[in-house]
Amino acid sequence: MSEDPVIELRGASKRFRSGSGGVHTAVRDLTMTVARGEFVAVVGPTGCGKSTTLSLVSGLEPPSDGEALVAGRPVDGIPDGIGYMFQNDAVLPWRSVLDNVAAGPRYRGEAKAAAREKARDWVARVGLGGFESYYPHQLSGGMRKRVALAQTLVNEPSILLMDEPFSALDVQTRALMQDELLRLWSGSNAAVIFVTHDLEEAIALADRVLVMTAGPATVKASFDVPLARPRDVEEIRLTAEFLEIYREIWESLKEEVEETRARGAGRVA
């Protein structure tokens, strides 16, 4: 798509010391690029190491081998312009919605009033106007996700990393949040890596879907999703094109899922 990728992984591997003293390889020889403004979904069987990909890009974990580059520079610490939405809620329970969203600008040295002004704007944009003074425990799961989304987007990231952010939501809320995400992302020109195990979600959202192998994960195949934007995620899954793309990618993903299941069964037996 573009000649200078924003995100680039070159033969990156990540190994962890496992509890029993052995070494667990989460990802191996991972090579991928994401261009500016591109929405890439990463799908793979459960527990294959998809999330590790994101921690390499975010700088939370350095790669054991290979390289991770953001904007052409090797990742050392957390690169500028990164936004990261975690799988579990990471909103601060002791702060109101407004102060949660204002956290990013405050950390980056903005004055309290200016940060709150920005936050108020984003709280409204994610549809939480009127809930500014609520504490997270007073909100539903979907509303907490909206807080997390606003908290991430208020920093206007040029790179957005999302780790199964909507997996804990019910089906209808999830579709709603997917639409919201597309609406907020469109026009931002941010590069997105969206990790999920839900292939439908991946196709509905992304420009490109990467299929990962069973763990240790590496990129197995890349599929373009030539569906027109703007998309309505609930409508688009019913179209013939969508189903065709789904069938094609599922062929590739199925083998990895089966492989993972077979290993799981082996472990149980």
Partner: protein, 294 residues
């Protein structure tokens, strides 16, 4: 029905009155009634306890050793109206309270700072672990004697004793609280742009606050114990001294009276700390039990 000739006017009036409809008992009045019941039972228990003590001390047991509620009350009245053997009761209370409060504040501050520091640094905590375990195993109350040698009979030796007792109570909770911080929250803050120091002040300290506040409840009690034991060991003023003098003159009523004064101070402090806790932790969801109790 109405035409029954042998029904008296009064009886028919009763019959005509609407049957007592079971009004839906409002939640508020149910709560009030429950509270009334609890308080009246509490009161009955206290009356039973004091009454049986008074009666048995009058007829069976020796009030010289066990005293009795009426003499304890008399002693309290004496202390507050005409002063104690050591001077004004208010002065004794103020001295002990100052010692306990100073020891409490210093000990809690030191405990929080060191606890969080060691809780966040694995290297420091690994280095210090054996020393802290050993220091915690020492029967620290014995230090009161040493502190009197070092700092003399004045307030500072009692403050030091209270400090040592408070410090460890708070330290271990602050340490644990800093250890149990959700990694997710820390990572999220770092991504959002927080520096190490900002992570500490906006994530670690608030996370550890509920742990620290829990320890402060018992810590003030420890501070009072430290002050009073320090005064037992050697002092020129204070409630501990007052109790110690009562002991040396075989005045059991005086010992009880001193205990009561200290208890009241501890309860007031507990009430203050609970108010502080409610204020600081207002973001927490109400406890499930509080909602289910109606």
């Amino acid at each position: 029905m109405r035409g029954e000739p042998d029904v008296s006017p009064e009886a028919s009036a009763v019959l005509a009155a609407p049957a007592p409809v079971r009004a839906p008992v409002s939640v508020a009045s149910a709560v009030r009634r429950r509270r009334m019941k609890i308080w009246s039972i509490r009161l009955a228990l206290v009356v039973l306890w004091l009454g049986s003590w008074e009666v048995s001390a009058t007829y069976w047991i020796d009030p010289f050793f066990y005293s009795k509620p009426s003499s304890v009350w008399q002693r309290l009245v004496d202390w507050f109206s005409s002063g104690t053997s050591q001077g004004s009761i208010w002065e004794q209370m103020s001295v002990t309270l100052q010692e306990a409060a100073a020891g409490f504040v210093l000990g809690a501050l030191a405990g929080v700072v060191l606890g969080i520091l060691l809780g966040r640094s694995h290297l420091l905590s690994d280095i210090c672990a054996p020393f802290i375990k050993a220091a915690n195993a020492v029967p620290r109350i014995v230090l009161a004697a040493l502190f009197v040698l070092w700092f003399g009979l004045g307030m500072s030796s009692k403050i030091a004793t209270a400090f040592v007792l408070v410090f460890f109570a708070v330290f271990f909770n602050a340490f644990q609280g800093a250890r149990e911080v959700d990694r997710n929250l820390v990572n999220n803050a770092r991504i959002l742009g927080a520096s190490r120091f900002q992570v500490l002040t906006t994530i670690v300290v608030p996370s550890a606050t509920s742990w620290i506040l829990a320890s402060l409840h018992s810590a003030f009690g420890f501070a009072l114990i430290g002050a009073v034991v320090g005064e037992f060991t050697g002092a020129d003023r204070g409630l501990g001294l007052l109790i110690d003098r009562s002991r040396s003159t075989f005045d059991s009523a005086g010992i009880y009276a001193g205990m009561i004064v200290i208890t009241v101070i501890a309860l007031l402090a507990e009430w203050l700390i609970t108010a502080l806790e409610k204020r600081l932790l207002k973001w927490r969801p109400p406890a499930a039990s509080a909602e289910a109790q109606i």
